[in-house]
Amino acid sequence: MSKITPEVIAAHQLTQSEYDKVLRLLGREPSITELGIFSVMWSEHCSYKSSRIHLKKLPTESPRVLQGPGENAGIIDIGDGNAIAFKIESHNHPSFIEPFQGAATGVGGILRDIFTMGARPIAVMDSIRFGKLDDTKTGIRNQHILEGVVSGIAHYGNCFGVPTVGGECVFEESYDGNPLVNVFALGVFRHDEIFYGKASGVGNSVIYVGAKTGRDGIHGASMASAEFTEESKQKRPNVQVGDPFMEKLLLEACLEAMKTGAIVGIQDMGAAGLTSSTCEMGSRAGTGIEIELDKVPQREPGMTAYEMMLSESQERMLIVAQHGREEELYRVFQKWGLDAVQIGVVTADGMLRVKHHGAVMAEIPNRALADEAPRYDRPHTTPLRTAPLHGPEVRSKDLLADLKKLLASGDLGSKRWIYEQYDHQVRTNTVSGPGAEAAIVRIKGSKTSVAMSLDGNGRYCYLDPREGTKLIVAECCRNLSTAGALPIATTNNLNFGNPERPEIMAQLVESIEGLAEACRFFEVPVTGGNVSLYNETLGTPIFPTPVVGIVGTLETAPPVGIHFPKPGSTVILLGGLGKPTPDELGGTQYAKVVLDQLWGKPPSLDMDYEKRVQATIRELVRSRAVESAHDLGDGGLAIALAESSFGTGGSSQEAIGADIRLDSDLAPELLLFHEGPSRVLVSATDPEKVFALARQNNVEAVAIGVTLESRLVVRNRDVTLIDSRVDALNDLWADALEHLLQDPVLVNTNV
């Protein structure tokens, strides 16, 4: 047996003090298998050791919350006896090393988190971030990563049969060596169909189902907890390979097996596979689990206990079944052609005991692994930030050219190239899909639909992690409200750099506190999420990037779209033109795309006003007092006007633009492109209804123009700021990603 030397401990990414704690908990020196088990369970990825004390600040309760953080996914009541389970998870590190499989298995992992609870997955969204596609040095590599990630997500989700209904995609230098791939999944079930990952009932059987165990992904969890170095490129074998067909079989078999009533608890084998599923299920139930590795279905011969316990082979689940009813489950799994084997039993002693070839290879209290991982209150100072407080004097030579540049940019251009690779309609529930304000999925057999939105903004959070995060929550809720839905619950993925650096830890702490404040205010409790730290390459951290996923409910009905449906309607800016200062332009898309600069602070947010604006738009959409509704976000008023004009009607139809007359003292660049929150662009035949409700809710509503065919014209007082045919703008926007991906200069560059 290998000797535990300081080098071996360091190779397992345990500190000396963590190792001392292992010695204390065991009362003896661990075996190499036990050391491996501790190293994965105590990794940042599994234990949240740097973030846990701060995550406690998040609000987690409301009358609708059936399950908060701590389980495989959060569960929310949506009425009629129905519930939804949803969660987001990152696969950043694997996606950089092997984009296709990294992203594919990211989808697979989060889907298992949903159906392990008994819910059938009905929607996926993804938030993905890459370096710039047109960077002269790294552009080609970034294109390669983008293509790999998108086809990986498509491959897995499409084959599994879950629609990918929305998401976001951002290109920023900060993600050059560290792309972000965050996948959100949502499933639906009845209240009496919920299952938990608990190994209850001493004497019950521990059953392994699904794919065989191989040597893939060993130490994936600890890889996800380390910074990237030149050597990480050699970590390719750490990335798992996904099989969506196997996952589909596993889904159907598990849901069918759950109906037998023989299942006591069930959990997927995600990070640190057999290890995490056994000790977490035991720990939750206060029981022990004893398993015999000889019985584990194996893909290759000669695997050691260490390898089996740490393998991250995909598409596997662990079930605790009532003793004596195992056969009922075997029959179901046999029908679906899957392995189902009893590998152990639930015991009373609270220990995880692992036997192999007759010998005990590991014997550790479950709680020591799952609950007694180290927790750190890491020092935090002032958030890392080098951007100046004040920016250059901004004076545009050609506002139309600026608008075109924005529309053709990777961030603001249409994401059609991405979402057309995703099946966004399978299961025929997608009421609003990609490109809409928020994704809406109806629940068959009920009058309720579920809306969902995914948002992040690394630039704002870099300028001010606390205010930036609050703005993201506000934006996400605004998307839902603009789609007519009431926001009800949140999941989040916190993507940050190395928490051992106090200025990075400060970003994380500020961001979590901002998230807590906003989620409390907007009454969207956090039911779970994921923390991904050490997102740095060669010492350069990513922008702090919390990604927020919020879900809401609404009555099932044909949606109010973002597009102006007809000419002659009044265009109204709900919430008003805003009062931005020049410093608030510094984090906008205008500053990024047109000026290539970053300065100042995020737009200021009045949460109380935001809430009133959202209540107003929700009611206007619900009562169909508006014909279109589009919230103002990235790119501000000008982008919202353009996008509202890009109707998807038949090709023979003329696009519907607008003639906009503004009356403002703001500089035109600010007026058109500032990204102040609490604003929604609507069109209405009867504007009085809009004004009346706005007045009632003490919200500004400004009539700014009328819709008309073919042209988009924007004037401020006597000055024409924008005047263009809509189709000229639409062409730039619709093909933005194709153009960036096919830049001939780049294609011929060897990088």
Partner: protein, 225 residues
């Protein structure tokens, strides 16, 4: 009419087809498991979209050996109505019930979008409620939907009026823009677009009802087995 929807382990549009037939068209619909050697008393069979057996070899290459496909072949030989949608179309070509083959899309990428189609023939149980030249906008969602066949087969399909629908904007490189075809006896149909996804006003498209209504109002000639 009673419609059977075949369920392969990797079918994922099986429920969508069932829902369209039973909930939108109010007909009887039931699932038929791939290991079943009998189709029961159904009047028509839908082979739905999905990835039958994972389709890691070739789409539909394994499915053709399944017990249910023996039953479907017999049903088709006896004149029963068989509609293969997407993966179902792939399975039908692999099983030799329809000519030609479906290979990877020309640009090698999965494509999911709504495309305009032209109804080429109305002389079939799957299109008699359409008018010739009618334009249907239907969703496609496939990675291997590029229809290919040798020139002689393509000429024959056209000469015998067996092209059901053609793409007006070809999304996958299919030869002669073919999106759906019939067999010689006109009782077996395969198409890549998804009519079952366009059968509910809530989802913003009901063009698929033209195809589905044709099917459920078709003359049933199959002897029930």
């Amino acid at each position: 009419m009673k419609v059977g929807v075949v369920v392969f382990p990797g079918s994922n549009c099986d429920h969508d087809a069932w829902y369209a037939v039973s909930q939108s068209l109010h007909q009887k619909a039931e699932f038929i498991w791939h290991e079943s050697a009998s189709l029961g008393d159904v009047d028509a069979v839908i082979l739905p979209g999905g990835f039958s057996y994972g389709d890691y070899l070739r789409c539909g290459a394994i499915a053709k050996f399944s017990p249910v496909m023996q039953a479907v072949s017999k049903f088709a030989r006896e004149g029963g109505l068989v509609a293969g949608i997407c993966n179902g179309f792939q399975v039908l070509t692999e099983a030799g019930l329809l000519p030609g083959a479906l290979v990877r899309n020309e640009n090698l990428k999965f494509v999911c979008k709504r495309v305009p189609l032209e109804v080429v023939t109305t002389d079939s149980s799957f299109s008699h409620q359409a008018t010739k030249g009618q334009i249907l906008r239907l969703p496609v969602a496939h990675g291997e939907g590029c229809y290919i066949a040798d020139e002689r087969t393509l000429d024959q399909l056209e000469a015998e009026d067996r092209v059901l629908v053609r793409y007006l904007e070809n999304p996958n490189g299919s030869m002669r823009n073919i999106a759906g075809i019939l067999n010689e006896k006109r009782n077996v149909m395969g198409m890549m677009p998804h009519p079952e996804r366009a059968a509910d006003p809530l989802l913003g498209n009901t063009d698929g009802l033209t195809i589905l209504n044709s099917l459920i109002h078709a003359q049933v000639t199959a002897s029930k087995s």
